[in-house]
Symmetry: D2
Subunit: 425 residues, 4 copies
């Protein structure tokens, strides 16, 4: 009996087949050909700089007219300077299709009304699935939603000689939180340092700095503010630090983490809806009892597979809304955690999502780019004063997606939907 | 002394201020206005269907000419049918700026050569940071990389009356793996069912089905194949199941999970480079000792904050490459886990990333969309036979990003880079 | 507003108060008094060696007659040589009180019958609570239980120069599993190496070696077998390893881990019972609906607090059974993970536990010590052929504890039970 | 190729072999023999009650003279009433052998001096290994240690009709923390409610109540105090709760959790020592470079196997100290998480442990039992004012164990030590 897992054996077999024709050692141990010519950076981003990059790509045989035309179309070149504020070595734009769902009724602390939501994705069946959910929850009276917590983390660390100096530093921080707050807030009109939590490991202190960031997603804002705070600390601290670092990989920035699940990063939104059985049957052709049975198994799967939280596919809704509205798509990694509930009520099912890490802004970042700004306009959530509402609508969208996929899987429609809608590919 | 955390108090204060002017009860407890008019779905996706959706948006006051023009530009309308294969309720495209890095030398089992890599993002400083890393590692001889494992999971569950029937079913599965494999593989030319792992909890069995998926990312492929396998099971099993579900939330699909960290979903790539101290100083103006000191603190931060694995910001590189090349951006949630190492060698630093969940295809999904296909062409990784190489290049890009951010934070350049490059916003 | 958490402020306040009278710097920065005299080890364990240790303790003012008498009572001295096989520097025994529950009916693959279970603990109310559960489940027909998986892990690692040599090693392992198995099994009559899973990170390979260990818990057995396997590897491998280590902190030995939750270490037992509502009311004075309501909240708490699995207090039952029966109490750390379910059935509640890491033996370790051996005798589970049944009874005990605590918390009896039974202290 | 994992196949094979002689269906589906006779509880614990239980055991054939004598020896019977305060259905005591290590020098905020530490275990080699570590760190000047945080959690939950009433409740809590603190503290002279953190999920609020508990471990104390607080809440809250529960499975009580790793439960202790290379060579025959190499691999293993934190075997030291000193052995499950560091210094290695969940008392629980009280006396840590020092010594012991095992594994002595010391078994 072979003791190795079947997938390991399958991999080894395929490598052995290839080894006949490929010298793996030569490939892995290096490439002694002289280094390729460096890509010359351009000082400014404009039509000329774009042309320069394409010239190089064509020279190296990496592009032809057709390829260049798809990325560097007329609009992309014309707006090179606009895009240049958001990127370096700009060569054009990639176009992601956008589908529309709605009107999605949201009864939120901040969002109130019927929203059309543009979703950008290249995954067939996704928009249709969220759209079905939106129709259903709106028919049930809409999604109740609230931002219940906010705070973008930045977590600098200070390293000391020993435990004693480290402890003295924590003591000093405790006495100087007002000054630290002031130092941080000199750099920003909107950011507020709302809490500092010291976390000590022998001679290292992490300072968990939590900020409210107004209507911006705020990742840069908190970095700049924390840098200022750290500089104040370094100049005024009673004992010198051996090292300090602006971010000690503790904040959960760009990655799923338990800290994020528990204390949140960005906005924590909780959203729910109660849907009568007859609406579930009518809109989703779903059997509520079957959905509950699935909920028990899916809860088991979530825990045993080691998710952070328990949910079905927040990432799909998040990525589609983040992309359409100019948010940072990389933040899907940290935002896609939370807890979905489904509970029986009187001839109805209660559904909810709680998402502790929604990182969206209605200003700043990519929200000002032309098409992204247009997408925000469709939602009526562009500009100052709209970020909290945008967070609530985002959670409501994810709730639609959870209900829709649970119904589809429980009813055996899941595969069919994908087969049908992806049929052209 | 107030016993509540400061951020909770800050939130409550801001809500209390707003409560003066807002009736929260009225907002949360519902909206009795009649439901908004339903969005009429269109049977086909074409210029007319696009126009129809915009007509509705304008009617409802959600769009004007300018907004429509940004999403539904001439190219977007002209190609409505092309995009229609990847999305429903199509209304146009969102344009994400693309920056270029490279040439990035990769010495991989599958990727071999100097690659230009297009990255799509709206986060200033990101492309510059990855570009610096790429220049450095190429000067150091390139990134060694290998796909060491593959397998996209789909995890159906079968629910039985009791433990005995459940056990009998597992026994039957063990005797019928050939038939199950055959049933799954009838649906696909490229997908291979390479292992089945039963996981039992009293009366529930999850079957962890792992597939190789050829050059496609394979998420739909494995769903369709597993559906066929399940239908075979249901028709032939010796004891009837009370319920069965095509996916029991165990596979890690669209979410970070420990199962993914440990056994992988998609391709597991391991990539490394050893960089002499003088190159670190020259290209990144970084002090290697300071980088090592940071590495210790960052490792502590990773573990204590509850990451899955330990890394800095895979998500940034992943999202930018996934978006540019037409991969599923939602998969950033599951792909952005793994382990980054940095170790001292003889006057050099060894760096590596191991990423167990890279989900990329060189065919299928969004890879065939016009601009995405163009981006793959630039890399020379479009079409059949290229997915493994694309996975290795993706990991190499993430390695560049890890080195670059570690150097920037250790050297105190991190904030400055963001302030400078994001200065126009 | 103070930005620090209230508990941090409370701690700092108390330290500041103490700082008036204590020189923290002097305390933490060291102790320049000459080192204390070394404790002289004894070659043998017998009455004389015991006396020697006590002489030293008395000399140093750490013990008097009364203290000595409690640990080094006549029986403890008389059996010094017996205990000496299980411990070094033996000075006597600590006495833990044992309570009895049962008869607990178990309908298991391996355990079948009505068991009296001795539980060792010093926590008042614990035995009473488990006893109530045992009475209930027995009245409901008994606990169904099965060992569904087994395998004690040991995970050596091999470190290579680079990815290529590392890959070649994995390839060699794949071709030599029979020889590896043979080498491992030369050291043991009972242990069987049942699977080897290689896990690769650039130049490091972990070999996850899984053993069945007969009727022993098997932690030493797998270490000795793996050492032999590693020595075979080192002598025969085609490429030399830079380092190798018998255990690379991957096996989950003595700690909770996701690997343990998912693949198990020791025996995986799944156990369940269905209890009619009227029995719940009669034996536990509990309202089943209230229990279900609690189950939903407790499931949420489990996930959001970041448990490995979801359960209430396996550790209590495990520790009490492990201690009474001579198992390794430190293994409670790894055993106390799993999943407890509670689901409504027809006028009844279904309860189950699935515990993937039960590490018990009916031979070896502390099971041969006099009082521990007596406790195993009470259960009828002493000696060869009984370990699997012991694992099933252990899981059944934990199931009793889960039902009992859920009922107590749901019904508001939890605190009262503790107040009443701990009243004498 | 068989697609199932080898360990699954091995298990199925062994079950199939047994199935020839065993009717699994009959075993699992129940036992229709009449229920066994109930165990009659006794109102008091004394020699007579002990005799009563043994009479029943003998009647049922579960015990004979020899078995009874081992558990119910003269001392156990004589002190039945003493033990009866800590247990129900008392039938005697189990004797765990105790070994001595020390003198262990601790330079702590609370512990200061040279400590002899009794450790109770039945695992051969354990005491010897910790003893070697203790000798080494003392020779290096002792372990620096500090309790840096404290707080035992109890986490009641309140369930409301909807998000609005739930939010109003949180708002009310914020205004009434003084009253809540007062209500909780009426029940205890020593316990102090030091912080309350509300955690909201739609209509459910968990209140994370953190207490300092004086010199007791405090698990019962915080339950009783929280019950009083909850009763105050229920009587005074402005909106009625649908349900409330004293503990919502959120506190990490008796289980490893991320919440515990991050915010601690009990006392958080950080302890370190810097050991010159020559001492490592002399006392442990270890090569420091090899230890560092092992540290890198072990850190990788810790993260990839999904530990909470990263450490080697805290559980061994914790269990042995907890058992000897009358702590709750079940708490090993929650205490055995944290972070061990090893870093090169100038010709020396720095080692540290940070253990956020040490749950020890110098009064209360099992600390007053005769032999346990004697063990505390040996350490000089019995009674009021000693719990913090006991926590620091416990962490120092675990640090000794970490150093010792790292050296043993890195040097290849690990297996030999176990083989030699466990040789008699």
């Amino acid at each position: 009996m072979n003791l190795l897992p079947a997938n390991v054996r399958a991999m080894l077999e395929s490598l052995r087949e290839r080894a006949i024709s490929t010298d793996f050692a030569a490939r892995l141990l290096g490439n002694t050909t002289p280094p390729a010519r460096r890509l010359r950076p351009r000082q400014t981003t404009d039509a000329e700089s774009v042309a320069g990059f394409w010239a190089r790509l064509r020279e190296d045989g990496c592009a032809d007219d057709a390829v260049q035309a798809e990325l560097a179309d007329a609009a992309a070149i014309e707006r090179a300077e606009v895009y240049g504020a958001n990127i370096e070595n700009y060569i054009g734009t990639v176009k992601i299709p956008v589908g529309l769902i709605g009107p999605l009724r949201v009864n939120g602390l901040n969002a109130a009304g019927d929203y059309f939501v543009p979703m950008a994705t290249s995954e067939a069946a996704l928009v249709a699935s969220y759209g079905r959910g939106a129709e259903l929850v709106s028919a049930a009276g809409g999604v109740t939603a609230a931002v219940v917590q906010e705070g973008v983390l930045r977590t600098p660390a200070f390293v000391f000689d020993n435990m004693l100096t480290c402890g003295l530093f924590v003591n000093w921080v405790a006495d100087n939180t007002d000054a630290l707050k002031a130092a941080a807030e000199t750099t920003t009109r909107y950011g507020k340092l709302i809490s500092i939590e010291p976390f000590m490991d022998v001679n290292v202190v992490f300072l968990l700095c939590r900020y409210s960031t107004g209507d911006a997603a705020g990742q840069n804002m908190v970095t700049v503010a924390t840098e200022a705070m750290c500089r104040y600390i370094v100049e005024n601290m009673p004992v010198p630090a051996v090292h300090w670092f602006i971010e000690a990989n503790f904040s959960g920035d760009k990655k799923a983490s338990y800290l994020g699940l528990q204390t949140g990063r960005g906005r924590k939104v909780t959203a729910s809806v109660t849907v009568p059985y007859d609406l579930l049957r009518k809109y989703l052709r779903a059997d509520p009892q079957k959905m509950l049975a699935y909920g028990q198994v899916a809860g088991l799967g979530a825990v045993l597979s080691g998710q952070l939280g328990a949910q079905a596919h927040y990432a799909n809704g998040l990525a589609a809304v983040y992309l359409a509205t100019g948010q940072d798509a990389a933040c899907v990694s940290e935002s896609a955690v939370g807890f979905t509930r489904m509970e029986p009520r009187d001839n109805a099912l209660f559904f909810s999502v709680t998402m502790p890490n929604i990182l969206v802004g209605s200003v700043g970042g990519g929200t000002g780019l032309p098409s992204q700004s247009a997408a925000l306009s469709i939602m009526g959530l562009k500009g100052a004063g709209k970020a909290a509402a945008l967070a609530e609508v985002t959670a409501a969208v994810c709730l639609c997606g959870e209900i829709s996929i649970i119904a589809a899987i429980a009813s055996g429609h899941f595969t069919r939907a994908h087969q049908k809608l992806a049929r052209f590919r």
